[in-house]
């Protein structure tokens, strides 16, 4: 075991992930940047509370999501992007690899509540365990599990994919290199 580094030195390495997590909550790069800025300032003045050797990224994610929800309560502002403008501006690259079409996926993801996007990003994309996420969110493990299941189900519903429906498995998908977007939708 190497000695834990000063979290102040380590912080810059986590900025891209912190920003990506912010974007997944706000679906807006400008708002995400403000959120990251607030998170950095808060983290800096609270580093004495950070337990050396624990997951700094998880700690930063926790500050960011708490800031996001408290700002949201204060502002009571709608941050959703119902027209999927974000999807159009950031994700216009075509994906013809036989998997779920990315633009459709993003559009569905944008329609989820921030709470659903949050658990999906933490559990699904970042691979945190439900136990870790429950600590980050300050809720019961069971809540994280059921919320993650509901979020996945909602996403599948928005993508018109029924759970249990015979869908391409990843290996099949990988071999079907030139499947068009319409083909995927028909699947």
């Amino acid at each position: 075991m190497t000695a834990p580094r000063d979290p102040r030195d380590e912080l810059p390495e986590h900025l891209p992930a912190l920003r990506a997590f912010g974007i997944s909550l706000t679906r807006n790069a400008t708002e995400a940047d403000d959120l990251v800025q607030e998170t950095i300032v808060k983290a800096w003045s609270n580093f004495d509370r950070f337990q050396a050797g624990t997951d700094l990224r998880a700690w930063l994610f926790t500050i960011l999501r708490n800031t996001f929800y408290s700002d949201r309560r204060k502002k009571r502002r709608e941050v959703a992007d119902p027209d999927g403008l974000h999807a159009q501006t950031l994700f216009d690259k075509p994906h013809h690899d036989g998997r779920l079409a990315m633009t459709d996926f993003i559009r569905a993801f944008d329609q989820l509540s921030p709470e659903h996007r949050e658990v999906l990003m933490l559990v699904g994309a970042n691979g945190y365990s439900c136990e870790q996420v429950s600590e980050m969110m300050g809720v019961a493990v069971g809540t994280v599990k059921s919320r993650t299941n509901r979020a996945r189900a909602r996403l599948a519903q928005l993508l018109h994919l029924e759970e249990g429906e015979g869908l391409l498995d990843a290996q099949t998908a990988a071999t079907m290199a030139v499947m068009t977007r319409s083909g995927v939708q028909a699947a």
């Binding site: 102040r8 950031l90 998997r99 990003m121 699904g124 249990g164 869908l167």
Partner: protein, 55 residues
């Protein structure tokens, strides 16, 4: 080829796409304002430490 159940395969695809959504944002350039902010915070901290030392 081992086939997983349809459900977990769907979940796997969803998670793969979630990873891609995350990575897409991850690979964007981090704005300079954060580097500047960190430099400011460090400078402030150093100034405070100096003040403490002079006491």
């Amino acid at each position: 080829m081992t086939r997983t159940s349809a459900k977990s395969s769907l979940q796997q695809q969803i998670d793969e796409n979630l990873k891609r959504v995350f990575e897409e944002s991850l690979h964007q350039d981090v704005p300079d304002r954060f580097t500047d902010l960190l430099a400011q915070l460090r400078a402030k901290e150093r100034a405070n430490q100096d003040k403490e030392a002079q006491k």
